[in-house]
């Protein structure tokens, strides 16, 4: 049981760390496209790790309801498909409407 708690804590901690990094990147990076790099990647893995931690915790704490971890696993699957697709869609919309990419040495926007 202690081992499960350690694993779950590590997963949740790593997930929260990556979501935090994504948020910091959203604030620090200079323009639209580079900000999407931070949010698009970190939210995918961060959210996935948090949900994985919750699923493992539930699996060992309440083994009589196996459907909940199964549903959480589906959530991870859909996040990993939907998140890059959404990031790509936002990127494409910005590119087609003519948002200029930031180059090295310019002012941050």
């Amino acid at each position: 049981m202690v081992l499960v708690h350690v694993v779950v804590t590590v997963l949740l901690g790593a997930g929260v760390f990556f979501i935090l990094v994504g948020s910091i990147g959203l604030l620090r990076l200079p323009d639209f496209y580079t900000r999407l790099h931070a949010t698009g990647k970190c939210d995918t893995l961060g959210g996935g790790l948090v949900i994985l931690g919750a699923a493992i915790y539930h699996l060992f704490q309440y083994p009589e309801t196996l459907l909940v971890p199964a549903k959480l696993a589906f959530l991870i699957f859909f996040i990993f498909i939907a998140n890059p697709t959404a990031t790509h869609a936002i990127m494409k919309a910005a590119f087609k409407t003519g948002v200029e990419p930031w180059r090295l040495g310019e002012e941050r926007r």
Partner: protein
Amino acid sequence: MRLGERAFGILLTFGIMGVFWILLSGIFDTFHLISGLVCCAIVSIISHDLLVKGKSEKKLQKSLRLLIYIPWELWQIVLANIDVAYRVLHPKMPIDPLIIEFETTLRGDFSLATLANSITLTPGTITILVEPERGKFWVHAIAKEPAEALLADQTMQKKVAHVFMET
């Protein structure tokens, strides 16, 4: 042969949707099971071609190759996140964004979507535009090294082409 493919598509769609229904409902009495299976049957007869499209040959082999590809892709996602964390938390922010273009040999909808999503999730690159007719990709890279990694050795393009057998 045409009929066999159709039946295969309907059966596969029905199977996937049935499993999904049972998992999500979580109620195992007769009424819920039968109503679920009837709904699955209707939907899979009407719209099975949305999920299972084209030739059914080598589908099993492609699925197996996709299963081998996914763990590698997950590892790449972890590397991508560490890369973003390094660039964001570094005091000087080592970024030098640029947009690159390249063409691939891929033409299928599913393989192009897989490659586009894989590029978005791997270190330092996001797909901007895909042109299916020529298999052309526009990619935004956050620095020079990830762009060169994508252009020079083309590991990812080769892996996706290998999975979907479109060399």
